[in-house]
């Protein structure tokens, strides 16, 4: 596994598993989840493609897999799925804990 992929797995695994915890079944709102993540993926993915093309940043080839989406390592694309998912999970958990108080 690439270092970057390992970072994504470590970031996403707890939110993914915990999102199935019954009171937190926010994936039931799958339409909102998919739409939100899709829009972020496209908008920030386009920014990233532009920035990578311009040379704002580059990716260490030893730390990512060789597959690219346009000019982005597949890990960088997945970043825009994993982190929004973790964000929505965190947001829903904060709100859930507040309601429980």
């Amino acid at each position: 596994m690439s270092s970057y992929m390992l970072v994504l797995v470590i970031s996403g695994i707890v939110p993914l598993l915990a999102s199935f915890y019954p009171p937190l079944k926010f994936y039931k709102n799958s339409r909102a989840l998919l739409l939100s993540i899709a829009i972020i993926l496209i908008a920030f993915g386009l920014w990233d493609i532009y920035a990578t093309w311009r040379g704002h940043w580059q990716f260490d080839s030893a730390s990512v897999w060789k597959w690219r989406v346009v000019n982005l390592p597949v890990e960088e694309v997945l970043f825009f799925v994993v982190i929004p998912f973790c964000s929505i999970f965190t947001w829903e958990t904060v709100n859930y804990l507040k309601r429980m108080r």
Partner: protein, 102 residues
């Protein structure tokens, strides 16, 4: 030109404008700031790792090269824009569709 600086500031400003217009009123909710604090904590870990291990390498031509640890300050604007827009969109689609979960 410090393009990354410029784009990240523009994205953050646009995010604030959109968030203030949206029905979810995130900036008026205390939970949103708790959420941001938690995100910043994990961001320091993830972004800190990616930048300190040079998995992502930045070109000083395009950013201020002011860093918090190894993380360019522009990354905080990028991150703020991304997570805030994520929640704005989530709340928007959630409110406009089906009921809130229990």
């Amino acid at each position: 030109m410090k393009e990354y600086t410029l784009i990240s500031v523009a994205a953050a400003v646009l995010t604030v404008l959109i968030a203030r217009k949206s029905a979810s009123r995130l900036f008026e909710r205390r939970e949103f700031y708790i959420f941001l604090l938690i995100i910043v904590f994990f961001k320091l870990l993830v972004n800190g790792y990616l930048t300190s291990r040079l998995i992502v390498i930045y070109n000083p031509r395009f950013f201020l090269n002011v860093r918090i640890g190894s993380i360019p300050v522009e990354d905080f604007l990028f991150g703020f824009s991304m997570v805030t827009m994520t929640i704005v969109l989530w709340e928007h689609f959630k409110l406009g569709h089906s009921s809130r979960f229990g």
